[in-house]
Each structure stands twice: as C-alpha cells, then as structure tokens.
C-alpha cells in the first residue's frame, strides 16, 4: 500500500493479489497528473505477467482526470494483448461521467461493485477454459 498525505486527505493505491489470481488495485483520494507516474508504475507492474486479471477499484476515488483515464486505457490494452482481462468498479456518477464523455465505459468494462468486476473476470476465464476463447474482449450487455 502506498500512501501519501495531501492536506487532510490520504491518497493511496492498494494492491491485493487474490487466491484466484485476480489482482485488485484500489485507488482512494483525488488522482491527476501529479500522481500519474506512481499509478503508471503500479499498473505496469501488475500487468507485466502472462494473462493478467486486473480489477481497478475506484470506489474510494473522489476524482480522476483524463491523464488517469489514459493510464486505465493503456492498462486495458496491455492486458488484452497478454490475453488477460481488466474490469473497473466505479459507482460515483461524477466519475462515471468521465467514462461516458470519453466513450470508454463499455470498452473499459466499468461496473458498480468490486464483486461484479471479479465475477466478470471469472466468467471470462471460464469461457476461455471452455475452449470458446477467440482472443477478443469479453462481450457485455
């Protein structure tokens, strides 16, 4: 867990490796270009292995801008290229607006809870084990 005090707020990025192989990266606080290098390093670290399964948990995040959105897009692309999967948990309307205004909500597999994001990755994994994988991104409703 990396933490940094800024005024009264604590900004942190917490990385949790689950038993099922899924890595959860949880952000809290306000994220912009100032903190982008540390997030970039974290995301590059967790997406570097084979078939990475990544959940970005933004439920404690109060703010992010297009610099951070760019890192999430970059991470999704790397994960896709490595035959892995990424999903994002985010439920704040003001943050969802950033995904919607950039047309990235569906492409980045944004759902409301960490549990839904994990279930989405597990479903993708099950499909691939069933021999139905074709290397494309998981389809969603």
């Amino acid at each position: 867990v990396r933490q940094r005090q800024r005024g009264a707020r604590t900004l942190s990025v917490e990385v949790r490796k689950r038993d099922d192989g899924i890595t959860v990266v949880a952000l809290s606080g306000e994220w912009d270009a100032y903190l982008a290098p540390s997030l970039k390093e974290t995301l590059q670290g967790v997406t570097s292995g084979p078939a990475p399964q990544i959940v970005l948990n933004l439920l404690g995040c109060q703010f992010f801008d297009s610099t951070i959105l760019g890192l999430m897009i970059g991470s999704a692309k790397r994960v896709g290229e490595a035959s892995g999967a990424q999903a994002i948990a985010c439920d704040r309307s003001i943050l969802l607006k950033v995904f919607d205004n950039s047309g990235t909500r569906e492409m980045l597999s944004v759902v409301s809870t960490e549990e839904e994001a994990i279930a989405m990755l597990q479903a993708t994994g099950d499909e691939e084990k069933g021999g139905e994988a074709d290397g494309s991104a998981p389809e969603r409703d």
């Binding site: 800024r6 306000e30 100032y34 703010f63 297009s66 890192l71 897009i73 607006k97 205004n101 492409m107």
Partner: protein, 147 residues
Amino acid sequence: VRPMDLRQSAIELRIPCDPRFLSVARLTIAGVAARAEPEFSIDDIEDLKISVTEACTNVIDHAYPEECDEADRFITVHCRFERGGLTVEVSDSGRGFDPRTAADSGTELPKESGLGIPLMRNLMDEVEFGGGPEEGTRVKMHKRPAR
C-alpha cells in the same frame, strides 16, 4: 457588509506550472463556483473541476519548453461571473499550442492521450482557444448552471 454584485468581481489565481498545484486550481474553482448566483449543482462544480484540471494539465504538458526558467513557468486561472454563469480563462505565457493537433477527433478506439480537450468540450457550455506563438495559450470556458 453590503452584499456586492458578483458581476463586478473577478478572481485570479496564479500557480507554478507544476502538477503539485493542480489540486489548488481545483479547490479554487470549486470555491468560486459555490458562490455563483444562480447556484451551480454539485455535478456542475465537478464539471468545472475536471475542465480546469484538464486545461492546467495541458499547460504543464505543452506550454513551456525545457529550457524555460522555472520562475517564468506559471499558470493563471481567471474567473468571472457573467452571462448567468461562470467564465474561466486558463492562460500561460509559453510557446502556444495548436488544439487541433492535441484534440482527438477520431471515433476509433480511444487513445491514451488527447482525451482532455474533448472532455472539456463535453462538460462546458463553451470552450474557446486563443493566443499563439510568442504570446502563450488562453483557454476560455463558460459554464451556466444546469436547469
């Protein structure tokens, strides 16, 4: 204290061209917007915070060449209440940049950069770029409270 006509007021913030101060610009715009009449909603204020952050980030990324002295690198955020909303101008005295080359106008898979200007255009009612080489860049944005 006599209540003043906000239309006569302007608020200006000058910060170093450094990402550590992005949150200062956000705090300022949120504080200014919260004093507008008619009132902005929380969503409107968030739109302003994102747009000001994007405009300041563009200055940090593009405005000043490496060789520019640190003391000469700054960002000015100028706010004034007008036309029933808030006008915010983010300016610098750098080399100027062409928003047409920075904006992502494509409809294909989103790129990892160039997302800021389309976002500002979607969140603000008006976005206008001014300035040019040798005079810096000025981004003028206007937001009216959502009805």
